[in-house]
C-alpha cells in the first residue's frame, strides 16, 4: 500500500543537488562557539557587576565609613582619552560617503558607539583596478527599500530599528559601479533582515515591476547563502526592459549588529562578487567586536 509512496519519496529525494557542506558546517560551528563565548563573557560580566553592587550596598549598610577614596573612584571612571571616539569619514574620500546616526539611538555595540566608520565600507581597491569612491548621485539607487516598495513590502522588516547608516558609491566608469548601504540595528535584527530579504525575494518580491512599469521587470534569484559574515545572500537580478535583459548581482551580509546591501552594475561576474562579499564582511568585522 505504501510501497509506491516509498518509491516516490526516493525518486524525489534523488533530485537533490549534492554539495560539499564541510566548510560551511565548520564555519557555522566556529561562529556558534564564538557566540557562546561572547554570551558567557557578557553574563559573567553582568554577574560580577551585580555581585559587586550587592557587596558594596551590603558593606555600606554595615559600616559607617565615608564615601570611597578618590583613588577608588578614579579606577572606575573613564578618562577622556579612553572614551570611544566617533570615527569620521575617511580622510581620503570626505565627500564620497554619507553616514548618519539616529539621534537618541540606544547603544548597540559594546563599544557604545553606533556610528558606522568609513573603514567599515568597501573601498575601490576591494573591487578592482580603477574603481574609485565618488559622490552619490540620484535618488533611490535601486536599494532594497525601494525594490520592496514595488511589491508591497517594506525594508527593513517591520519592528526593526535602524540605529545608524552609511552609504558609499564606487565606480570605474559610467557603466561599472557598486553601491553599498550599511546599517546598524538592535541586537538580532541584522540577521532577521537577511531572513526577511530571503523570504521576500523567494515570495512576493521574486518578480517586480521597476517603478510600477510592467515593461521594466526584475526577476530575483538567490544564488548562494552564507558566503560571508554571520549570514549572507548572493542574489542574481535579471532585469528586462526595452533595452533587453541585463544581469547583475546583489549581496546582503549580516555581521554582528550590522547589515549591508551591495548592488553591482555593469556585468560584474559572479566570481568577482564572491571576493567583494568577503572584503565587505572583513571590513564590517573590524567595526564590530566579533572575531573574523
Amino acid at each position: 500500500m505504501t510501497d509506491r509512496l516509498r518509491m516516490a519519496m526516493q525518486d524525489l529525494a534523488e533530485q537533490v543537488e549534492i554539495v560539499d557542506l564541510a566548510a560551511r558546517a565548520l564555519r557555522t560551528s566556529r561562529r556558534r562557539r564564538m557566540r557562546r563565548i561572547v554570551t558567557a563573557s557578557a553574563a559573567a560580566a553582568t554577574a560580577l557587576v551585580l555581585i559587586s553592587g550587592v557587596a558594596y550596598a551590603v558593606g555600606g549598610k554595615r559600616t559607617t565609613q565615608p564615601a570611597p577614596r578618590p583613588a577608588d573612584t578614579a579606577s572606575v571612571s573613564r578618562s577622556p582619552s579612553a572614551a570611544p571616539t566617533e570615527p569620521g569619514p575617511a580622510p581620503s574620500s570626505p565627500d564620497t560617503a554619507t553616514g548618519s546616526t539616529k539621534p537618541g539611538s540606544p547603544s548597540a555595540s559594546p563599544r557604545g558607539d553606533t556610528a558606522i566608520p568609513a573603514s567599515a565600507m568597501l573601498q575601490g581597491s576591494d573591487i578592482g583596478p580603477n574603481y574609485r569612491s565618488r559622490p552619490i548621485e540620484g535618488d533611490d539607487h535601486g536599494i532594497l527599500a525601494m525594490i520592496f516598495s514595488y511589491c508591497g513590502a517594506t525594508f527593513p522588516q517591520p519592528g526593526s530599528t535602524e540605529l545608524a547608516s552609511r552609504s558609499t558609491f564606487i565606480s570605474r566608469d559610467a557603466q561599472h559601479a557598486v553601491l553599498q548601504r550599511t546599517a546598524r540595528y538592535r541586537p538580532g535584527e541584522a540577521g532577521q533582515a537577511v531572513q526577511h530579504v530571503r523570504t521576500m525575494l523567494t515570495g512576493q518580491c521574486a518578480v517586480i515591476s521597476n517603478g510600477g512599469n510592467p515593461g521594466d521587470q526584475s526577476r530575483f534569484l538567490i544564488e548562494a547563502v552564507d558566503i560571508a559574515g554571520n549570514s549572507a545572500l548572493l542574489i542574481r537580478e535579471d532585469r528586462s526592459n526595452d533595452a533587453g535583459t541585463t544581469r547583475s548581482y546583489r549581496i546582503v551580509i549580516e555581521q554582528y549588529d550590522m547589515f549591508t546591501e551591495i548592488r553591482t552594475t555593469g556585468g560584474m561576474e559572479e566570481f568577482d562578487v564572491y571576493g567583494m562579499a568577503r572584503s565587505a564582511s572583513q571590513r564590517m568585522c573590524e567595526a564590530t567586536p566579533t572575531l573574523c
Binding site: 500500500m1 505504501t2 509506491r4 509512496l5 516509498r6 516516490a8 519519496m9 526516493q10 525518486d11 524525489l12 529525494a13 534523488e14 533530485q15 537533490v16 543537488e17 549534492i18 554539495v19 560539499d20 557542506l21 564541510a22 560551511r24 558546517a25 565548520l26 557555522t28 560551528s29 561562529r31 556558534r32 562557539r33 523570504t199 523567494t202 515570495g203 512576493q204 521574486a206 538567490i222 547563502v225 552564507d226
Partner: protein, 183 residues
C-alpha cells in the same frame, strides 16, 4: 600532541564524515523542507552542532545518529519560526495546473512535483514522520526516539499524514492509473 594539532586532526575526521554522509542527509532534508537551499541550511546547521560535540560523538560512534536527530528536531523548530513566511501569497504550494501536468513528458516528473507539493501541505511533524517511516524505513520505535515522541504519537501522526496526503493530492493515486499510492 599540542591542542591545535589535535583540533586539526579532529577537523579532518569531521570533514571526512561530512563528505561521506552529506548526500544521504541532504536527501532526507530535501523531503523535509521541499527546497534545495533550505535543505542545505538544515544539514549545515545540524552538522555544525555535531562538530561542537565531535570528539565525544566520534569516540562513541554516534555522530550520524546525533546529526539526524538534530536535523529532524531543527526542522520542527525552524518550521515554527518560518510558518508565517511559508504561507505568504505566492509561496503557498499549489498543485501544478492540469494543462502543465498533461504536457509533462513522463508520469514520474508529475509524480515528483505532486508529491513535493503535497508534502509541503503536511504539518512539520507529519512530514517528519513520513520521511522517517517511508523514506528512511525507520521502525515506529526508532521514529519515536528520533522525534522525542511516543510510539502512539508516531502511529497517529502517520495515519493523519496519509489521510492528509489523500485529501490534498488525490491525483497521487491516479498518476499511474491505479489507486493505492498513498491509500
Amino acid at each position: 600532541m599540542n591542542p591545535s594539532a589535535g583540533s586539526l586532526v579532529g577537523d579532518d575526521e569531521f570533514v571526512a564524515f561530512v563528505r561521506a554522509r552529506t548526500p544521504a542527509l541532504l536527501r532526507s532534508a530535501t523531503l523535509l523542507t521541499g527546497d534545495q537551499h533550505l535543505a542545505e541550511d538544515l544539514v549545515q546547521a545540524a552538522l555544525a552542532r555535531t562538530h561542537g560535540s565531535w570528539r565525544r560523538l566520534h569516540a562513541s560512534g554516534n555522530a550520524e545518529a546525533y546529526t539526524r536527530r538534530v536535523m529532524y528536531n531543527l526542522q520542527v523548530s525552524w518550521w515554527r519560526r518560518r510558518r508565517v513566511a511559508e504561507v505568504l501569497p505566492g509561496t503557498e504550494p499549489r498543485p501544478a495546473p492540469s494543462h502543465l501536468r498533461i504536457g509533462m513528458e513522463t508520469d514520474a516528473i508529475a509524480l515528483r512535483l505532486t508529491l513535493r507539493e503535497a508534502l509541503l501541505r503536511l504539518t512539520r511533524r507529519q512530514r517528519a514522520v513520513l520521511v522517517l517511516r517511508f523514506y528512511e524505513d525507520r521502525t515506529e520505535p526508532e521514529t519515536a526516539e528520533i522525534l522525542g515522541v511516543t510510539v502512539g504519537t508516531v502511529k497517529s501522526q502517520t495515519a493523519k499524514a496519509l489521510a492528509r496526503l489523500r485529501a490534498v493530492a488525490p491525483e497521487l493515486a491516479e498518476l499511474h492509473g491505479t489507486k493505492g499510492v498513498v491509500g
